[in-house]
């Protein structure tokens, strides 16, 4: 009597059918289980675009499988072309996954501590195979993700899809927009370079303005130290102290890799669940006012997920991945990395990330509390409640003239505010500093560092004599110098700034090292004055150019 009997069915199969057919049948069985219903031949027929056999095995994964049950079995023919959706929601999810993959790679080589974070960056760039590539992809994907999410919201607004019954879908969408902005912004701080520190400082200093509300303010100084009790508290919370420190960095890091992604993934689930529940809404002009026919798709107007949508999505995955990889390699996009964070050195023109420039523009308009806190608060709260207060029944463009006009006005205002957020608008710094920053900026290499090292011939040169410079590189550099002087003088309308002399002094300093002094001399009400900046350039430093 056997106390243990081992039975391998595959052995019987091989005996019966022969080795190859038996193994193939086994593989086919495995694939069928994995796809919850599609065998190898079914998959091949999907990819070939064959008409579905009857009974249709392609419906089974949607009923039995986890991944496919999330996707509709078929779409309305009217929502599958580029219009009205432009694939923006799909792109947002794509980038979320893309960022997770590249982000996990970077996480392997990163420690959230001010002592080593910047060194980790250098290590990723110099010592990790594909480190630069992954970092560039992560950053590039992040920019595109913000863009995709913002455009997705704009498109939803324009086609009126936030209206009943999809109010809550919109609500979670606004939440996801905030998560996206938060993810992108929190990622800014992590490299611990000058860009990180100062971009995030702008953001953090805004929360510092939160005033203590009534009636807490009546308790007075002896309780809370100063009038910005809550502001100071929140500021300490986000920075880890009065200055950004290791605690602050750890908080932003955990928010970036854990907190925000967790919330975002949960709400992507809710968001997409609602999308499928209510159906992808048809173009506004395709249905009668007040009707929602998205869930009732006539038999003859169906585009099935398999084979059409799935091959299309696979194609998009390949295409978008290719474009991203192309951008960071042959396209030459590289994530910036500035010098190590330095709380004592403020770069001349500090700007927030581009998607927050409108906020920085608003801060230039006036009061920090109103324009930095109350106004953005109103904007985002309005977005949240929009579908509940804008209840006009029609989604048609012709019936929504006011709504669409408001949308356009908001877009134009945001563009203007974005411009106002840039250093070109209403930033007053002295002309001499502007000239010097033009030649040797603190935030990026700039023309001097990009000039070929060998062409920086030792000597003293004056900007206005640029044509006599001995080398082409130096000639171009001095011409830019002269141009910067002209621009600064044109800006100075009151004629305070009488430029006298603009020198560029190049000295041999060490083996392979030159010292370059940019010296601007001018005359103002107080007499003759000089500003100068020393820059050291090494033969190997390779700033590109």
């Amino acid at each position: 009597m056997a106390i243990f009997k081992l039975h391998l069915p595959i052995v019987d199969d091989i005996k019966q059918k022969g080795l190859k057919p038996a193994l193939l049948a086994k593989v086919d069985e495995g694939v069928t289980r994995l796809t919850a219903g599609l065998g190898i031949n079914d998959i091949r027929s999907v990819l070939r675009g064959d008409p579905a056999p009857r009974p249709n095995p392609r419906v089974k994964p949607h009923a039995d499988g986890f991944w496919f049950h999330m996707r509709p079995t078929y779409y309305h023919n009217l929502v599958t072309p580029l219009y009205p959706q432009f694939r923006l929601g799909w792109l947002s999810v794509y980038f979320m996954v893309f960022e997770t993959i590249t982000g996990v790679f970077l996480m392997l080589f990163y420690t959230p501590s001010p002592l080593v974070a910047f060194e980790n960056m250098l290590n990723i760039l110099s010592n990790v195979p594909l480190g630069l590539f992954m970092r560039d992809l992560h950053r590039f994907g992040a920019e595109l993700m913000v863009l995709a999410v913002a455009l997705h919201m704009l498109r939803t607004y324009l086609t009126g899809n936030y209206k009943k019954p999809r109010q809550f879908t919109w609500f979670t969408g606004v939440l996801l927009l905030l998560m996206t902005l938060g993810l992108s912004f929190s990622g800014y701080l992590l490299p611990w370079d000058q860009l990180s520190l100062w971009a995030v400082t702008i953001g953090a200093s805004m929360v510092e303005a939160i005033p203590t509300p009534y009636p807490l303010n009546l308790l007075g100084d002896q309780w809370f130290g100063d009038q910005y009790f809550i502001g100071t508290f929140v500021n300490n919370l986000v920075r880890g102290g009065p200055q950004f420190n290791d605690n602050g960095l750890l908080r932003w890091y955990l928010l970036h890799v854990l907190g925000l992604p967790l919330i975002a993934f949960v709400f992507i689930g809710v968001h997409y669940y609602k999308v499928v529940l209510h159906g992808h809404s048809l173009p506004p002009e395709a249905e009668k006012v007040g009707e929602d026919t998205a869930k009732r798709v006539p038999m003859d107007q169906r585009t099935y997920f398999m084979p059409d949508i799935i091959t299309r999505e696979l194609f998009y995955v390949v295409l978008v991945t290719f474009l991203c990889i192309f951008a960071v390699t042959l396209g030459g996009y590289h994530a910036p990395l500035e010098p190590h964070a330095e709380a004592l050195i403020t770069p001349l023109h500090t700007t927030a990330p581009w998607y927050f420039l409108w906020l920085q523009g608003m801060l230039k308009v006036g009061d920090k509390v109103f324009w930095g806190l109350i106004a953005p608060g109103i904007i985002f709260n309005t977005l949240f409640v929009l579908p509940y207060i804008e209840v006009g029944p029609s989604r048609r463009y012709a019936d929504r003239r006011i709504g669409l006009s408001v949308g356009m006005v908001v877009c134009v205002t945001l563009s203007m505010l974005t411009f106002m957020g840039t250093p070109w608008y209403a930033v007053s710094s002295s002309a001499d500093q502007e000239i010097i920053a033009e030649i040797v900026p603190q935030t990026h290499p700039g023309p001097l560092r990009a000039t070929p090292w060998d062409e920086l011939t030792v000597g003293t040169y004056e900007a206005k004599n640029w044509e006599q410079a001995p080398t082409p590189g130096l000639k171009g550099l001095l011409e830019e110098y002269e141009h910067a002087v002209a621009t600064a003088q044109a800006k100075d309308k009151e004629g305070q700034f009488k430029n006298l002399e603009n020198l560029l002094i190049i000295e041999e300093w060490q083996d392979g090292l030159k010292k370059i002094t940019v010296r601007v001399t001018w005359q103002d009400a107080t007499g003759e004055r000089t500003a100068s900046q020393d820059v050291f350039l090494h033969r190997d430093s390779n700033y590109g150019g």
Binding site: N127, F322, Q510
Partner: protein, 270 residues
């Protein structure tokens, strides 16, 4: 549909080719980045040197006599300076740790530089971050090529130098010659520039009128000659109340034993 599948496959192949191309190039790229970054580190170090170090070590690392030793000198790189102080590590380590931790005590091997080197790394309470100290060390090490091109000869230390050791035997002193040395008629010590011999008159340093008497009572267990000798070769050892430590610290090296003996003999007559 077929178009999608075929184009998709082609694009996928193209993507994989790009990634493979990057992969192959990675070692070169990483090497380039490393040398580029080293260059930028030297630049950053040069700027830091300019603000923090040139005051004592000279604008171009040539050193300032009596304040800070030369850093662009051959002996730092060819191992001589390291072996003199018994340093077992590399020159880079020596430079890096000297900047980081400073020198708690003036090095006995360099009695011409009695000042102590301050601590620079924030690890030890200094003002610079460790990466900035690395930048500085990279900058200092960048002098190696030019320094090693200097002639290798060692300047022979003066065997007749007075030295800071108070126990070495001095030759017999000649007070008359000491008078000339003190008043600048011989030698270049220029004592009279700061020290008056009139009672109570203060030029820069204390008056030396009656020094033979006061010197004996200044430090317990010190004879007057010993006190005067120490005050010349190690001026910081004992300061007269109300005076700053301004006397040059170079006499231990620049003064011969005979000159020292003569000066002491002369001062003992005052």
């Amino acid at each position: 549909m077929t178009v999608r599948v075929v184009t998709g496959t082609i694009i996928l192949a193209a993507t994989m080719m790009i990634v493979a191309f990057i992969m192959v190039n990675e070692p070169n790229r990483m090497t380039d980045f490393e040398s580029g970054y080293k260059g930028r580190s030297v630049e950053a170090g040069a700027a830091l040197y300019d603000t923090n170090c040139k005051g004592c070590h000279g604008v171009q690392g040539e050193g300032i006599e009596g304040v800070g030793p030369a850093l662009n000198a051959r002996d730092l790189f060819d191992g001589r300076r390291l072996s003199e102080i018994g340093w077992a590590g590399t020159a880079y380590d020596y430079v890096f740790s000297s900047i980081s931790g400073g020198r708690p005590r003036a090095s006995s091997a360099f009695s011409t530089y009695p000042q102590r080197m301050p601590t620079w790394s924030s690890d030890f309470g200094g003002p610079l971050r460790p990466d900035q100290v690395r930048n500085l060390a990279d900058f200092v090490m960048n002098w190696e090529t030019t320094a090693m091109a200097q002639p290798a000869e060692t300047p022979t230390p003066n065997p007749n130098a007075a030295g800071t050791d108070l126990e070495t035997e001095l030759p017999a002193g000649d007070a008359a010659r000491g008078d000339k040395l003190f008043n600048g008629q011989e030698g270049t010590y220029g004592c009279f520039g700061c020290h008056s011999l009139a009672a109570g008159e203060v030029k820069v340093g204390p008056s030396l009128a009656g020094i033979a008497g006061t010197a004996a009572s200044r430090v317990e267990g010190y004879a007057a000659e010993k006190y005067i000798r120490e005050s010349i070769v190690s001026p910081s050892a004992h300061l007269v109340e109300g005076f700053q430590d301004l006397m040059p610290k170079t006499f231990a090296q620049s003064m011969t034993k005979q000159d020292l003996a003569d000066l002491i003999a002369y001062l003992m007559t005052k």
